[in-house]
């Protein structure tokens, strides 16, 4: 076999970074830079640079044994049309947007067929008035960020969305004033401030020439999103919600339906026995939930767990049926990034008998047919996508929202608030060489932490000894850019102690 070269989009977040994946004669992968890509100029972050470790080939399985795709699809359809599967009551479909628009659309058709909807896992959407939807869905363009007068930053670009760093620096060069209201001091900000949420409007000095950069993910607090929307409304500032999945913007447009459930909600449903069958499309709750072990335990309660995926991830091992599809970079299809730009996968170079990249769609089509639906082909789906999901930034049409914000104020005594700085490594529960937490000097002194030593964190679900790095940040916080076995949510109250 010859070397294959694929032009694709980084699966790490919704930024839409273009890149090449080179698959050599032995199947070994390497990333190459695509300098003309508008979102990233070919530049990649830590996660993008490590993509060869991220992609892994999934294997079709039935009840834990290897099977052909055809057989897996057949069994999946049997399970889905079984007597005890009562559609709309105890079935949930989940597709957070880790695959192409075309596969997501096909998945939606299956949901239609079954009389249900595909959940994108962002519960926030169903809790917000529909008028908010466009504003939350697609933000300002990345180029626009460079030309604003003021940026209010509520994310940590270095750790969470590294490709934002250069946009913000460029904005500063062009005269923008950058205020970070994040959780630690950032070098790229003119000002690092921890402002009382009630004072954002008066303190941040935003106007219609400014932009608010914040984020939205399955574990985001709705109150927070409302507050951000209110801030944008009152100040007339533009707003950009960064999102974690490569096609988060795309699935959001494809899966409008009311009654969207968040991942935590679905997990509760399973735990309480209300959901008996779960079908996931490139979405692994074990990776996505803050507490992996707890998530795995809950999933085991399902009668049917059907996984359609291109990756070998933890959920595959406990699934009843795994339907394997080709790796994401090899799929024919498109993704929509956070600015609403449609980006296509292209098979650039390789063998003459190129695989078509439609194995995933073909499997979904067969499944749909077994369920009594119509056949689906790539081109029709792609045309449909082109028609239905063009999106630009639109002026907010919503009205002031009532909100209450989660308070993460200082904690007493030996306790601390452990907060996840979500980044691509965390969403895919993948190792990064950041086995440490971030704490401030006061905590070091208070606990008597030793240079080069460790801090012990504890909660109801476990304990962990971990190294620490000192940062300028508010008292009582412990930030982590990797999943820790003590966390129960995006934010977890933990005990702290020096390891002697």
């Amino acid at each position: 076999m010859k070397e294959m070269i694929y032009q694709t989009v980084c699966p790490g977040c919704n930024m839409g970074c273009g890149l090449y994946i080179r698959e050599n004669e032995d199947g070994k992968l390497a990333v190459d830079f695509m300098k003309s890509s508008s979102a990233n100029l070919g530049k990649l972050c830590r996660f993008g640079m490590k993509l060869p470790y991220h992609y892994s080939k999934s294997v079709s399985m039935v009840d834990g044994k290897k099977a052909s795709v055809e057989y897996a699809v057949k069994i999946a359809s049997d399970r889905l049309s079984g007597e005890d599967v009562c559609v709309n009551v105890n079935v949930a479909l989940l597709g957070v947007g880790n695959t192409t628009n075309e596969e997501s659309l096909a998945f939606n058709k299956i949901a239609d067929r079954m009389g249900t909807i595909v959940n994108t896992g962002m519960g926030v959407y169903s809790e917000l008035p529909t008028e908010c939807h466009p504003t939350v869905g697609v933000g300002v363009t990345l180029n626009d960020i460079e030309n604003v007068n003021r940026i209010a930053l509520f994310v940590d670009p270095y750790i969470q969305y590294p490709l934002l760093v250069r946009r913000i620096l460029a904005a500063r060069k062009n005269g923008a004033y950058v205020v970070s209201v994040g959780l630690r001091d950032l070098h790229l900000a003119d000002e690092n401030r921890y402002i009382d949420p009630d004072l954002y409007e008066s303190e941040l000095g935003l106007d219609s020439g400014s932009v608010i950069i914040t984020e939205l993910h399955p574990n985001t607090d709705t109150g927070w999103v409302r507050r951000m929307l209110n801030l944008a409304l009152r100040t007339q500032a533009k707003i950009l919600f960064m999102k974690p999945f490569v096609n988060a913007a795309g699935v959001d447009l494809l899966c409008k339906g009311a009654g969207q459930k968040g991942i935590p909600e679905i997990m509760d449903g399973i735990n309480e026995g209300n959901i008996k069958t779960l079908v996931v499309l490139d979405s692994d709750p074990i990776e996505l939930m803050p507490d992996s072990d707890a998530a795995a335990a809950i999933l085991k309660k399902l009668d049917n767990l059907i996984v359609i995926t291109s990756r070998d991830s933890p959920v595959n091992r406990i699934a009843d049926v795994v339907i394997a599809t080709e790796p994401q970079y090899a799929k024919a299809g498109s993704f929509m990034n956070v600015e609403g730009r449609l980006l296509n996968n292209v098979h650039v170079y390789g063998d003459n008998n190129l695989p078509s990249g439609t194995a995933g769609i073909d499997a979904l089509s067969t499944l749909n047919q077994y369920l009594g639906g119509e056949a689906m082909d790539y081109q029709t789906l792609h045309n449909k996508v082109l028609e239905s999901i063009v999106r630009k930034y639109t002026k907010p049409k919503y009205k002031e929202l009532a909100c209450q914000v989660l308070d993460i104020g200082p904690v007493e005594g030996q306790k601390g608030n452990l907060i996840y700085l979500y980044n691509p490594f965390m969403w895919f529960d993948q190792p990064d060489d950041n086995d440490f937490v971030l704490v401030n000097m006061n905590m070091v002194k208070k606990l008597g932490l030793r240079k080069g030593g460790m801090i012990a964190l504890g909660s109801d679900v476990g304990t962990v000894n971990i190294r620490y790095r000192v940062e300028n940040m508010p008292d009582g916080l412990i930030l982590s850019a990797r999943k820790l076995p003590v966390a129960t949510g995006w934010i977890t109250m933990v005990s702290t102690e020096a390891v002697l």
């Binding site: 070397e3 070269i5 032009q7 090449y20 190459d32 830079f33 695509m34 300098k35 003309s36 508008s38 990233n40 100029l41 070919g42 530049k43 990649l44 972050c45 830590r46 993008g48 640079m49 270095y158 590294p162 490709l163 760093v165 250069r166 620096l169 460029a170 070098h187 790229l188 292209v346 650039v348 170079y349 060489d433 950041n434 086995d435 440490f436 190294r467 620490y468 790095r469 000192v470 940062e471």
Partner: protein, 383 residues
């Protein structure tokens, strides 16, 4: 018969190749012949995606070689790493050839079996900057561009409907567009370190635009040309004295310009401000490692000192990774600009490296990537 040192003007015999080539298609014809006649097993060329995007491929397919024809001034890749561990023929800008030789010094490339068809290079541009420049300075839709050229200090773009528009390069650069920063102060414009040095400087009269000036640098260059002549792919004739003089003159102008611009691009920073300057510049590093991955002279592989001894848990004032790399590249850095291109934080990392490498290299009159006779510093000085 071709001999080392020959100054020739040549072109592809095939009319189609000749007309599609950047200037006569000689380079493409030579590469195709090398593949057809078994001089090499593979050729490294650019797979075009559009006017602003191409990806290097390693191919044994003559069709791909013929399709790669033409100079892409807005595709600033370095081709050296694609030649590592293979027996290939390849086109090479001077910095590609330099990197190939630095890799060879470190045992990663077998130079005897690597054929380097050098291309003169007045500089390359970043594709996104170029697109922006087209809109803002030329008032041309980037989609409409079908070709570009450098003529008399001007950058010329041709559009679908046959129009041409030219603007002075120095004015474009003044406005923040034009060539990449590292190309502006590069002074190796003719690849005397390659096996052949090809370019359009010195192609005059009727042949202008449809032939390439080619200097034969060594025995491999002789082989490449003779092979292509024998295959009936190219025709060459001696260059006139006038042609040679013109090429020389243009080169001198470019080298002088490079020297002048170096002082502008790398101004002296006073002793007491330098440390803070480096600390500030590197403070936005997100530790992606792209600058090392893309570095065409680095031969360390995945487990290297710069990464192994750098830990994210340390919040040192300066990054160990960068300090080690500054030191390691003091001899081999060719200021090709690849690291700046790929840095997600837009750190002018090439300029930082150059600030360390250039003085060290000058002090020892050391020119990286020129020939195998000058091994890495360490060896030279230990004697």
């Amino acid at each position: 018969m071709v001999e080392v040192g020959d100054m020739l003007v040549g072109y592809a015999t095939d009319e189609d190749i000749r007309s599609r080539g950047a200037s006569g298609g000689l380079v493409t014809a030579v590469l195709a012949a090398a593949l057809e006649k078994g001089l090499v097993e593979n050729v490294v060329v650019m797979k075009h995606i559009n006017e602003f995007e191409a990806v290097p491929i390693i191919t044994d397919d003559v069709k791909e070689v013929l399709a790669s024809i033409g100079s892409l001034h807005s595709v600033p890749v370095n081709l050296a790493k694609y030649a590592v561990g293979r027996k290939v023929a390849m086109p090479a800008k001077p910095c590609d050839a330099q990197a190939v030789i630095e890799q060879a010094k470190r045992g990663m490339i077998d130079l005897d079996n690597t054929y380097i068809v050098g291309l003169n290079c007045g500089g390359s541009m970043h594709p996104v900057t170029t697109k922006k420049m087209l809109v803002e300075m030329y008032d041309i839709d980037p989609e409409d561009v079908v070709g570009e050229d450098i003529k008399k200090g001007k950058l010329v773009f041709k559009t679908k409907n046959g129009e041409e528009k030219a603007l002075r390069i120095d004015e474009l650069e003044e406005a923040g567009f034009g060539r990449r920063e590292s190309c502006r102060f590069c002074t190796l414009k003719i690849p005397l370190n390659a096996d052949l040095a090809c370019g359009n400087w010195g192609v005059i009269g009727d042949l202008s635009g449809s032939a390439t000036f080619c200097q034969v640098m060594n025995g491999k260059g002789v082989k490449l040309l003779e092979n292509a002549i024998k295959a009936g792919r190219i025709e060459v004739q001696p260059a006139s004295d006038k042609a040679i003089a013109i090429r020389e003159k243009v080169n001198n102008v470019m080298v002088d310009l490079g020297n002048t611009l170096e002082k502008k691009i790398l101004p002296v920073i006073p002793d007491e401000e330098r440390l803070q300057y480096y600390i500030d510049q590197l403070a936005d590093c997100v530790n992606c490692g792209a600058c090392k991955e893309v570095c065409p002279v680095c031969a360390c592989g995945e487990d290297s000192k710069c990464t192994t001894f750098h830990s994210l848990v340390d919040n040192y004032k300066m990054s160990m990774y960068h300090m080690v790399r500054m030191l390691h590249l003091a001899d081999s850095c060719i200021s090709c600009g690849q690291c700046s291109d790929v840095c997600p934080s837009d750190i002018p990392i090439t300029l930082l490296k150059s600030r360390f490498a250039i003085p060290s290299q000058r002090k020892r009159n050391y020119h990286p990537g020129i020939d195998l006779d000058t091994p890495p510093f360490f060896e030279v000085m230990l004697k």
